[in-house]
Symmetry: C2
Subunit: 277 residues, 2 copies
């Protein structure tokens, strides 16, 4: 099984692939998200794994947009804790490190570590896993990288310090995507997890339009686990809503709720039903 | 009037300050968001201007967290279109540019430009405005930066190409914050704009809890312009909701709605009423 993801080998998305599809799945790196979706659309890969939201940085609208542009189905979800490690080539000890390379967003999540080691300079790089690849290939003197543990393993580098991030509550949620009509997958350990259904709908923002739309769900006693509005640019007062609820689209209550919501909303697309992470 | 913002002088936040407070406000640069809030808490500045959401990247949860931690009030909002320009020191013409420096997120928003100019290498930097400052100070051969127009003006650099971003629908929404009890401000051109009220509330996620909470708003025919759920880590099934509605907290209908919502929610905080952008 070949699964496309965005980033360099060793990225957190690759860890999500292992969690969703097991160690035998073959991760196929793509530089940009639209290429991840294009690879699945063309049949070059069997699946795609994309981040959809992060506890610190919110929803990744670009991937919701790409989900609406393509006709795939969500067949699983997983959550990866973002752990930043200080990683260096073998032979480089911590006392020798004078510069650390990583994506600025990752470096900004390690401020306490940087404040405690003022002799260490930070250097911006495109990608967390890519910074490990670079320090291994080019070995700049005194250089280390900040990335996930998988990147150290893949590029045969050493972890000098584990978990140097400031905030332990940093998780990214990923979707597993497969061609329309694919059945949900049960990842290891998720067989007893409750079902979740993700959908996108739009309403014109007359007062109470959202309230009426949510009645379709509340009247069936279904639990909402995510709701987010997104204004449609160029269409003032029109909104897209991202909504996740507990239940499977084949459950009677969910089926009735979706029928009712379809009646109330201007647009409705069910993105898939899957075992929750 | 002194207003704190995150970033280097010339950042998009500084443009937001000019839009909200006029050209006489003095922008005070801070490296991190928590220092922006701390500067306002200590009285070092009179106001703070922070980004709260972006059309491509979603809500900036860190700033919502800081809003809840402090006791400030939102006194205005504005929206800045993120325009990326190719900027170089005077004397450097476009044909001489071989490397462009900027924050990787900004570089990733200029992919069409980069694809059309394959002779130009991209170099990651911490900050968009800071990359202009750096190319002006250090003048690396063939170097240009990618940033907003204000950065070119401040560092006396030249704009070689305007608007090299792929997506014109890239806007960031900013809040103006002042000490508790401050009155809303009317920025130039906003005197006739409708009022907006921002609030944060939490519910336990029993089925229908959100629906009941929204009834407090729908029953008063008030228009919701934003809603977003955020799971509370470590408290499974408890959520924070960010909600904006049209109206002012002193309006009778809004007052009743907030009273009713306070009765239904576990927690409610009104962040402020202000003229919408």
């Amino acid at each position: 099984m070949r699964a496309a993801f965005q980033g360099e080998l060793g990225a957190f998305s690759q860890q999500a692939i292992a969690q969703l599809l097991g160690p035998k799945a073959r991760p196929i790196a793509q530089p940009w998200f639209d290429q991840v979706f294009a690879a699945l659309a063309s049949g070059d890969v069997d699946a795609a794994v994309v981040p959809i939201e992060n506890t610190l940085h919110g929803s990744i609208h670009e991937n919701y947009d790409l989900l609406l542009k393509h006709d795939f189905v969500i067949t699983g979800e997983t959550s990866v804790r973002i752990v930043h490690n200080l990683i260096a080539p073998p032979g480089v000890t911590f006392s020798k490190v004078t510069r650390i390379y990583s994506h600025p967003v990752a470096l900004n999540q390690c401020l306490d570590f940087l404040a405690a080691h003022k002799n260490i300079q930070r250097e911006a790089f495109y990608d967390t896993a890519g910074s490990v690849k670079m320090v291994m290939e080019q070995r700049p003197p005194g250089a280390a990288a900040v990335a996930g543990a998988l990147a150290a393993e893949i590029y045969k580098a050493r972890i000098l310090k584990r978990g140097i991030e400031d905030d332990r509550q940093n998780y990214t949620r990923f979707f597993l995507l497969e061609p329309a009509g694919s059945k949900p997958r049960t990842a290891a350990g998720s067989a007893k997890k409750p079902w979740k259904t993700s959908l996108v709908f739009s309403t014109r923002n007359s007062p109470g339009a959202l309230f009426r739309s949510l009645s379709a769900i509340a009247l069936r006693d279904l639990n909402i686990t995510k709701i987010e509005s997104r204004p449609l640019r160029g269409k003032p007062w029109e909104y897209l809503f991202y909504l996740d609820l507990l239940g499977r689209s084949s459950d009677a209550a969910v089926k009735y709720a979706l029928g009712h919501l379809g009646e109330l909303a201007d647009f409705l697309r069910v993105l898939g039903s899957y075992r929750s992470a």
